[in-house]
């Protein structure tokens, strides 16, 4: 749903690195190199970021659309 705070296996804090990771990978950088530069060494932590899908963004879209409609009704 939303990036887990810690690695499931070892307990390292990873949530703080997600935004930078996803931004840099989207910008075209190699995911492995981004992970290296963020200091994520073990493969348990690497898979946390590599395999994560931020589904909450999809869920929030419904609320954003509903909000837009509400606003539109208010205007007319």
């Amino acid at each position: 749903m939303i990036i887990p705070v810690r690695c499931f296996t070892c307990g390292k804090l990873i949530a703080d690195k997600w935004e930078e990771f996803s931004r840099r990978v989207k910008a075209g950088e190699d995911a492995g190199e981004v992970l290296d530069s963020l200091g994520i060494k073990r493969y348990c932590c690497r898979r946390m970021l590599l395999s994560h899908v931020e589904i909450i963004d999809e869920v929030l879209r419904f609320y954003e659309e509903a909000e837009k409609r509400r606003e539109a009704r208010g205007y007319y």
């Binding site: 749903m1 939303i2 990036i3 887990p4 705070v5 810690r6 690695c7 070892c10 307990g11 390292k12 804090l13 949530a15 703080d16 997600w18 935004e19 073990r42 909450i56 963004d57 869920v59 929030l60 609320y63 954003e64 909000e67």
Partner: protein, 267 residues
């Protein structure tokens, strides 16, 4: 006993221990994992939550956020003189969060948690707690307490805590023909061929996997990987709650206390 620190920064430490047996280092490892206390959010009172996720989901996320810990100022709840279930200000820290998305979707970060003690705060300010869209609110009060890793992993001050034997690699020069097969197969690049001769380049990196021994075409193999007796490389990575050297010191203190306890009981 001899200790040599190989590498150290504010969250990692690697040191060499010599002259102790495996039971002793393993005890240390287990104490660091399960007994050294640190702070974590333990109870959450949700006042308002109109986000898309449930209260318990948010409470769980809050619990896992590592908090900077001051072990000298706070007591474990079970050892605190207040003896109260709710706790006093010697065994509990209150953190509050009052967040609302006023202009469109935004992420709520751990930096927005306001602690009553400015020393007990999340180790990082940019840990996403929740995402809210316009009009959604999240208001809560969280109580952090000291605890031990054996009760819940959120109270573990370490995310990596392991030791390995100190490797000992012997290349029998009269049998070795420097074919380089062992150099090729080594996953950690421990061996290197310099001037046509196979040599150990980075001994500490060896994981004792024995791949090089198996790859050697000679019979018996011209390379032997063994380990030193009573010599260990200890690797420690703190979650940020406590500095690594403090974790080691606390573990030793706890071991001392436990041994004294045994002494008292068998007398």
């Amino acid at each position: 006993m001899e200790i040599k620190v190989l590498e150290k920064d504010d969250s990692n430490m690697r040191f060499l221990v010599k002259g102790v047996d495996v039971q002793y280092v393993n005890t240390l490892r287990r104490l660091m994992l399960a007994e050294v206390p640190c702070m974590a959010i333990d109870e959450v009172v949700v006042i308002e939550n109109s986000s898309v996720l449930q209260d318990e989901f948010i409470a769980h996320r809050l619990g896992l956020i590592p908090l900077k810990t001051n072990l000298d100022e706070y007591n474990l709840p079970e050892e605190c003189p207040c003896k109260s279930e709710f706790g006093c200000n010697l065994c509990r820290v209150t953190l509050t969060l009052d967040a609302e998305a006023k202009e469109g979707t935004r992420t709520i970060y751990s930096g927005e948690l306001i602690s009553e003690n400015p020393e007990i705060v999340p180790v990082k300010e940019n840990i996403p707690i929740m995402k809210l869209t316009k009009g959604q609110k999240l208001k809560l009060e969280a109580y952090a307490r000291l605890g031990r890793g054996k009760k819940h992993a959120k109270w573990q001050p370490v995310s990596l805590c392991a030791y390995k034997y100190f490797p000992k690699i012997e290349i029998l020069e009269k049998n070795c023909d420097n074919c380089g097969k062992c150099v090729e197969i080594c996953p950690r690049k421990v061996l290197a061929k310099t001037d046509g001769k196979v040599e150990v380049r980075d001994l500490m990196a060896c994981t004792l996997c024995q791949d090089c021994v198996e790859a050697c075409p000679k019979n018996p193999p011209a390379i032997q990987v063994k380990w030193e007796k009573n010599s260990f490389i200890f690797n420690l990575e703190s979650t940020g709650a406590l500095p690594p050297e403090r974790i080691v010191k606390e573990a030793l203190k706890i071991l001392d206390g436990q041994l004294k306890e045994i002494e008292k009981q068998i007398r």
